[in-house]
């Protein structure tokens, strides 16, 4: 949120260096440059005739020169300014910040996975293709849908994939359907994806129970609707309990049911999306199957497809051939109706390795337990907090608990202030101001990898904060005060963008 109230001066004493014990101020790489220095030893070849034509580089690159110890220290210091799951609960609703098993990292680094080229002869990558096939088998079994597209690089890319197959299927059937219905509570990627495919996006209102208003949906369905895009469990952390009716009405209108599977972790192993009437769903391997978020990526967004949509799956396809597995890389033969290639190569292989390792570790019993513990943990937080905070909707939740800002009425404390105060208590804040259908929303997703003790500590701290907010909201306006940085001026960043370092004028002249 871009409006930051002016903060009170910091109470923390200043130091000569600006450092605060383990929090060490670190200049930019570019400010540590010693020209000519390098952190690698690369031999100089003997003189030779170059073949660069007239294109040999003559202008300086300007990249700073540092040695290896300087580089390690730089990035180690930077790392210490980050919050991470490894350090504590990361209750960001709709983001699924769960523990990342280290076995998955180890396995992904085996040369047989990490050091294979996507264009090697297929006879030399049979294990990789088998892995993709096995991963697809698990995803088919867990979703109940008959086909998996592995190409998409992340959730939003998966949405594009799924919605493109819908557009292709309608076109193949000679149907011109240009409207897509998306609930108001949806992730922003849903309308953005539908728009990227040329669809006209219309919002479906939520009912007073935080779910799709089925009557309103039915009123909007018609022969020009291509699909509905519904997240289930939805972004309010609630299961769409009228989902069967939603699916029936959608299918009766000749439209497809796209499910945003961002929250699949709440139901994996408990219910198969196909049994709910869903035709196509992307999964975020970096959410449900715990590939690391890595500060914003990489992700992986496989898409499960109904039989009617499977012929349109993106390239390449992994198929069983006479001599083992094969890759279909062009839209010919059985793949002639494919929507085409979505990225340079076959998909996020490094993420496939981690996700399959995760699945093999958990097994069908463990995955079911994952869903149950995720839902149990969220409901436990809801139960612990509902006395002081205001749940957005009555009753139980799925894997995330949603609160609004009614409990802050009259305190002068905003959701943003409350979230920033969590930082000083040593927690990453919850998701705030999302979903948009709830005023001052706080969406918290603890995930199944938090212990009861961790949840209790978090709940106790939030209860204490809520009581403090109600008695004296003043200190909340300047929170956080103890983090590596206090509130940042986002308005200034957007108004006069500084998006890169530039050499200062005198230095430039000296070059």
């Amino acid at each position: 949120m871009s409006t930051n109230p002016p903060a009170a001066p910091s109470a923390v004493p200043s130091t000569f260096t600006g450092n605060k014990a383990l929090q060490i101020e670190e200049p930019l790489l570019f400010e540590q440059d010693s020209p000519g220095r390098t952190g690698v030893d690369i031999p100089d070849p003997p003189p030779f005739q170059h073949r660069l034509g007239g294109l040999a580089r003559v202008t300086p690159l300007g990249l700073p020169g540092l040695s290896e110890p300087q580089v390690i220290r730089h990035f180690t210091r930077l790392s210490q300014k980050n919050y991470a799951i490894d350090a504590g609960i990361f209750p960001l609703g709709s983001c699924t910040m769960k523990h990342n098993p280290r076995l998955n990292e180890k396995v992904a680094r085996l040369p047989g996975f990490a050091d294979i080229h996507p264009l090697q002869p297929v006879s030399t990558v049979q294990g990789a293709l088998e892995l993709m096939d096995t991963l697809a088998h698990w995803l088919k079994t867990l979703t109940g849908l008959p086909a998996i597209a592995l190409a998409p690089a992340a959730g939003a890319h998966g949405e594009f994939c799924g919605m493109a197959t819908i557009r292709a299927a309608h076109a193949a059937a000679g149907q011109n359907r240009m409207r897509v219905l998306v609930p108001e509570s949806a992730h922003g990627t849903n309308p953005a994806t539908a728009a990227a495919l040329g669809y006209h996006v219309e919002a479906i209102p939520a009912n007073e129970r935080g779910r799709v208003d089925v009557a309103a949906l039915k009123a909007k369905l018609g022969p020009d609707v291509a699909a509905i895009m519904v997240t289930n469990p939805n972004t309010c952390g609630l299961f769409e309990d009228e989902i069967v009716a939603i699916a029936e009405a959608t299918h009766a209108a000749g439209a497809y049911f796209y499910c945003d599977g961002a929250n699949f972790n709440a139901i994996v192993g408990k219910v198969r999306p196909a049994d709910l009437g869903i035709d196509v769903m992307h999964m975020n391997l970096h959410k449900t199957f715990s590939t690391p978020h890595g500060g914003g990526g990489p992700g992986s967004g496989p898409v499960a497809l109904a039989a009617a949509l499977a012929p349109f799956a993106p390239l390449p396809w992994v198929v069983h051939g006479d001599k083992g597995f094969n890759l279909i890389e062009t839209a010919t033969g059985e793949a002639s109706r494919s929507i085409g290639r979505m990225k340079a190569f076959h998909g996020q292989m490094g993420m496939f390795v981690r996700a399959l390792t995760y699945m093999l570790s958990h097994g069908r019993d463990g995955l079911k337990q994952v869903a149950e513990d995720a839902v149990l943990n969220a409901n436990y937080l809801l139960a612990r907090l509902k006395g002081e905070l205001s749940p957005a909707f009555p009753g139980i939740c799925m894997h995330e608990a949603l609160f609004d800002d009614r409990f802050l009425d009259g305190t002068g404390v905003s959701t943003l202030d409350f979230a920033k105060a969590m930082i000083d208590e040593g927690f990453h804040p919850t998701t705030i101001y999302f979903p948009l259908v709830v005023h001052g929303a706080m969406l918290m997703e603890p995930t199944e990898t938090e212990s009861k003790a961790s949840l209790d500590q978090f709940a106790d701290a939030l209860l204490s904060l809520a009581r403090r907010a109600k008695s004296n909201g003043e200190p909340f306006h300047s929170a956080p005060t103890m983090s590596p940085r206090r509130r940042l001026d986002e308005t200034r960043a957007a108004r006069t963008p500084v998006l890169r370092w530039r050499p200062s004028a005198p230095k430039q002249a000296a070059e």
Binding site: G112, H157, D275, I339, L376, P497
Partner: protein, 448 residues
């Protein structure tokens, strides 16, 4: 289950606090008929030892490029990644953090993104860069969409010597828009003329340098023609190490530069995850896709960084966003940033020079193999050879000897004519002289 902290006692106590009798009370909104009643047909959980064994067995069914003499490039390159890179990206504070939406406790990620954006801008000779895209091909597709937004024109001229997978990614991303793609045929021998395709409806021209056959291309004149016609020039780079040796696209007048950044800091990984680099001119910044990190100050006036200009993005603008991208390639960008920090100008220049030198070595040797002709007059670390027989079969023959001879042009352009005997060959600093000798001997025998 080693990843699940709750004990049966915890679960009972928590259910009691909630006021539920059993876990399925919490799933009561799931239609009863849809709930799974029998276990799925999948195996049960396993210990770390068993899983590692099973996965290692799968890995062993592949021939790692490092276990062969590999000369495959065509969009992914096997470079040496310094040990420090993997150490840094495995630090939990980077590995297990989220998109830096809470800047007060994400300055580590934000500062490296700012450094990454600066490195990319410097390397490409452009003014600004974003915080990464999925890969080079998707970045290329986004560049085309951005050029269309800026020019409000429909026609997109695509060089026939753009990597065919990038061309296809552009086609898929624009399939359901009103874009008009004017795609050239691959010209292994060079000589492609794009200027005559530019007209008053042209949004952009997309050209790769070095091109997919390895040839270097001075696009300065093309840039001038684009600008005279009100169109933009998009330059695609599949081998980013080349920028250490050759003139940057920015110097040649590019308006948008998209690169595959895998070569720096990232392994082959069978095609992903990689990272797309996306750079442009400052005046186009509000039409850019993806996340941007910017400098600002905190409440105490200290320098800090935040994600900025997010009114372009889907989580704010929804259906009016410049792109639907959300998750990008954060950790791959960190690997790039660390590797580039280690290299510096001096290291990158040396790395590029060594790549180029080794490529000239192999090109000279291959040109002495009877019947084999090197097609390129110019190249960086990749070039195309014409064999006296179909390249696909030769590649198979050599693969059996653990020599990855290159990529048959027919694998990239199966529909094109006249490419049957063409082989695209790449060399990096990891290629040994002995491997080149073995390769040439095996090739001599295979084409005899």
């Amino acid at each position: 289950m080693r990843y699940l902290p709750l004990t049966p006692t915890d679960r009972q106590a928590m259910l009691a606090t909630i006021g539920a009798r059993a876990i399925d009370d919490l799933f009561r909104d799931v239609p009863e008929g849809a709930r799974l009643s029998a276990p799925l047909d999948l195996p049960d959980h396993q210990g770390e030892l068993e899983v590692e064994r099973e996965m290692a067995a799968l890995a062993a069914k592949n021939v790692a490029a490092g276990a062969a003499a590999s000369f495959i490039g065509s969009g992914a390159y096997r470079h040496h990644v310094p040990a420090a890179v993997d150490h840094i990206i495995q630090r939990g504070e980077f590995l297990t953090s989220y998109t830096p939406y809470q800047p007060e406790i994400s300055q580590g990620t934000l500062q490296y993104l700012f450094e990454f954006q600066t490195q990319v801008a410097m390397l490409t000779g452009m003014e600004v860069a974003n915080a990464s895209m999925y890969d080079g091909a998707t970045a290329c597709a986004e560049a085309v969409l951005m050029a269309r937004r800026i020019t409000r024109r429909a026609k997109v001229v695509i060089s026939g010597n753009l990597h065919s997978h990038w061309r296809d990614a552009v086609a898929t991303a624009t399939r359901y828009t009103d874009s008009k793609l004017d795609v050239g045929a691959p010209a292994a021998n060079g000589g492609e003329v794009l200027e005559s395709h530019i007209d008053s409806d042209t949004a952009c021209v997309v050209v790769q340098n070095p091109d997919a056959f390895g040839r270097l291309r001075d696009v300065s004149g093309l840039a001038e023609r684009c600008h005279a016609a009100g169109a933009l020039l998009v330059v695609a780079v599949t081998e980013v190490v080349s920028l250490g040796a050759i003139k940057s696209p920015g110097e040649m007048g590019a308006d948008i530069v998209v690169c595959e950044g895998q070569s720096i800091g990232n392994g082959l990984n069978f095609g992903g995850p990689y990272l797309g680099l996306f750079a442009t001119r400052e005046r186009f910044v509000r039409q850019m896709p993806g996340r941007l990190c910017g400098e600002t100050v905190d409440a105490d006036g200290r320098r800090g960084f935040v994600l900025t200009l997010s009114t372009r993005e889907q989580h704010i603008r929804r259906e009016k966003a410049t792109s639907n991208i959300c998750t990008n390639s954060g950790l791959c960008a960190l690997a790039f940033t660390v590797h580039m920090a280690l290299l510096g100008s001096e290291g990158l220049k040396r790395l590029a020079r060594l790549n180029h030198y080794k490529a000239t070595m192999l090109a000279d040797r291959l040109s002495k193999v009877p019947g084999v002709k090197v097609l390129n007059d110019t190249f960086f670390n990749e070039f195309t050879v014409a064999l006296p027989k179909p390249a696909a079969a030769v590649v198979e023959t050599l693969a059996a000897k653990k020599i990855f001879a290159g990529v048959p042009a027919t694998r990239l352009w199966p529909e094109a004519r006249g490419l049957d005997n063409m082989l695209v060959v790449a060399v990096t600093e990891t290629s040994h002289k002995e491997e080149m000798v073995t390769y040439c001997e095996a090739l001599t025998e295979a084409v005899r």
